[in-house]
Symmetry: C3
């Protein structure tokens, strides 16, 4: 990579503010930027770094007004974050592609079909009747069990497990250690112990889904657990059996969705969120980190911003939290009032 | 599978309400049921689906009274959930068994012993002196380290790791990615940093335990971490070193039990529960999702239903939560009273 | 192992109180100790066990004063926990070492370099240009991707994944299933869905770090996610992209640190703690189990002990929690006062 500020501005639809011939060869974080690198400023918390940065080029918003002189050349763009994504994608696309082909150390069942241009790493296991779409890359030691299907241009990282019969769409990314299709957690109590309820359903992961490392999506009891198009799940996320996650919903790390919950589209969940079983969470619901959603109309109707356990409207939560903060003082206030009333009563009776 | 309503009723001890010759060939969820399928109604939340279902047969409770006409044939049984489990198990048992045998791509140490009828997948590693009981199935890329023992009729899914010397009972199911016997988290602080405390104990998993995907049970410092008979752990559960989990206890996903805690029998923990280290949780304790149990007499004596962090009796929790909800109003009420007292005092002195 | 109390005292700088010729051959927990074993008493909660123990030797603190007669020989030391660590390390060092060498079932790329004395298990994958330092042990089915570096005397357990280009220091221990270097969770919203922001950075794990099973450390967007020297992470911990964890910080199981957070040195986090993104947590901050740290001055300055969500000073938390406990009574008290004021007003007006 070797670009001038002018070339970058042209590629990103931005404008140059400074030396249009400034050259960059790599990316850097604004707080650690070295000469010859391009960095970006999006979060205002990091603004102070721009005044001392050694980066040659900094991407900033169209409306950014420096409070002090900036040594670097600025490239001004409409949406900094999107532009960074675009530039990084360009950078990635310029990398030489790894060689494809099926490793002679992989195990591919005779009845499996592997599309053109796939790359299958060593010690990958592809079970009977598995179908892998063209251009899909499967890293070392991943296991795709019998009758599963994986679409085109997917990336399945190392040590992933996809259980039998599950269906994965196109352009899906599954990070290392993720498990798709383990049995849902279903047991019927008997006096002697719990009896397993066989989980005869599957998991369906639609197109353009990305799932982080060591996450789990369980197969359904019957039918299918469904993760719809464009969903992004972070690491260590749990999606239980019979759940449905709506398109373009995003869940941060260590979030858990309990069995048979139905989550809408375009939701955003912070880290360590819990969603109760058998509830509905409407479209565009935002849930703050560590909140626990037990259900209810507010969650169901969509568009809410929820905080706390049990999760409530964020404004109500903030008001309650403020009151809770002053609770010890309130207790003292009530004691003072009690004493004053006592005095008033004695005065009256005295 | 191809059964009539009459055959199902005979097998499950139920009664037919409708066409006894209705034929089903598959299972379905009540909300997505197609013709020729059997579904079930257990949770009343789903009752409205029964009036429009296209399923041919619906399993319902003996006492179910439809509020509207139902097109499907009903099979009435004592315990719907148990009956579903029974039918699904029958269905599973009718599936053709996968072929057994040890894959020639597995690595089995010369000193290991493999029981009759085992199925060992490709790239499985069986260490020195390992003993695998008969009928056990080990999926691809699982690793059983030196001197570990696995009992009969177990299922060890892909990419599971069992560390050296650990002992697994009979009919145990370990889902993909689960790790049994990693070192307990023990370090002694020194001025220069933490010094590792070797964890020379093991993990013992007793008969009929099932553990979900990507869960962890750590080996003990000395002696054994113990998961007793019939315990069911969901995905991403953490059992720390020196813990003992009593028989038939059930823990939902992302629950964590800290070191040296002792959990009783027949407990039920919701998702994301935390149990503090070195505490005792008595038999039949129920802990609500996201609750944190720090110890105490209530947890110790057993039979409690606990909510919140720190977890308290669920009725007390509910009462406190209701009061907290109205806290902003309480603050205003106290302000009003204060003003009235002020007026009373001025009236008296005026 | 076969030691007398006298030998143990000599090795640990302790003093014998009882039979100096008492012989021990193994370790045990104080509550399960058998004859011929050595156990220890550090946590006072376990003191009652010492009066009935069948252990031959018990390690106790220098100042321990038995309340009843103790049958076992006591070895008195300055720091019980450190001494146990020392003895267990001695015990471990006496075990016969496993044979080294590279398994002929491993896959090692031609351009990779493997140091002297390494042990590489079956079905391990070592990618192109990977460098493994001498004395490092890599267990079965672990995957080290292209251009990654692993230092000397590390232990990489089974089914670990290290993504391309990541850098691991010396004496690092990574437990089974852990994933180093998966993509950070970065997506830019567009009207059609989320666009992936390529994560072109790496992960750096410095010397003497230990990471538990199934944990995740994500690669940074640019530059490096850094886990500094001596850090200890438990199982199922999440370290997001661009995070920096200071030296000798300890995090218990299921803790999550969100993107771009900067955690100081010598911090201690309990289980299931959440740290918000883009915040600073100062040196020696202690965070109680399940707490959620949103940022703020108290967390930033270091040395604080934090509890709750949002996390606050532990003393303030305790005071608020005590008040919250009595909240239902406070509500009743306010109702009583209201009535009394009403009566006073009526008396005045009557």
């Amino acid at each position: 990579m070797n670009f001038t500020a002018e070339q970058i501005a042209a590629y990103t639809g931005g404008t140059v503010d400074g030396d249009k011939d400034a050259v960059v060869t790599t990316f850097s974080k604004i707080e650690q930027a070295a000469e010859g690198s391009i960095c970006f400023l999006s979060n205002p918390k990091y603004e102070h770094y721009i005044y001392g940065t050694r980066a040659s080029v900094v991407l900033v918003g169209k409306d950014f007004v420096p409070k002090e002189p900036v040594g670097a050349t600025l490239v001004r763009v409409d949406n900094v974050y999107e532009t960074v994504a675009k530039l990084l994608s360009l950078y990635e696309s310029m990398k030489p592609k790894e060689q494809g082909g099926v490793s002679d150390k992989a195990f591919v069942a005779a009845s499996a079909s592997i599309g053109e241009g796939c790359a299958i790493g060593p010690f990958v296991v592809i079970g009977e009747n598995v179908k892998i779409g063209r251009g899909t890359r499967i890293h070392a030691n991943a296991v795709i069990e019998d009758n599963a299907q994986v679409g085109e241009d997917c990336t399945i990282y190392a040590n992933v497990t996809i259980y039998h019969d599950c269906v994965i769409g196109n352009r899906v990314v599954l990070h290392a250690g993720t498990v798709i299709g383990a049995d849902g957690f279903g047991f019927a109590p008997t006096p002697e112990g719990y009896e397993k309820i066989p989980q005869i359903g599957i998991v369906t992961i639609e197109d353009d889904v990305e799932i982080g490392a060591n996450s789990c999506v369980d197969r359904s009891t019957m039918g299918s657990t469904i993760v719809h198009k464009g969903v992004k799940l972070d690491n260590l996320v749990q999606i239980a059996h019979n759940v449905e996650v709506g398109a373009n919903t995003v869940m941060s790390s260590q979030t858990g969705v309990a069995g048979s919950a139905k989550v809408g589209e375009w939701c955003m969940f912070g880290g360590q969120v819990g969603i109760a079983g058998h509830i509905t969470v409407g479209d565009r619901t935002h849930v703050g980190a560590q909140a626990g959603v037990p259900g209810g109309n507010l969650a169901r109707k969509g568009g809410a911003v929820l905080l706390g356990t049990p999760a409530i409207d964020h404004k109500v939560f903030t008001r309650q939290a403020a009151a809770a903060k002053n609770l010890p003082e309130l207790v003292q206030e009530v004691q003072r009032l009690k004493k004053e009333i006592e005095e008033l009563k004695q005065a009256k009776n005295g």
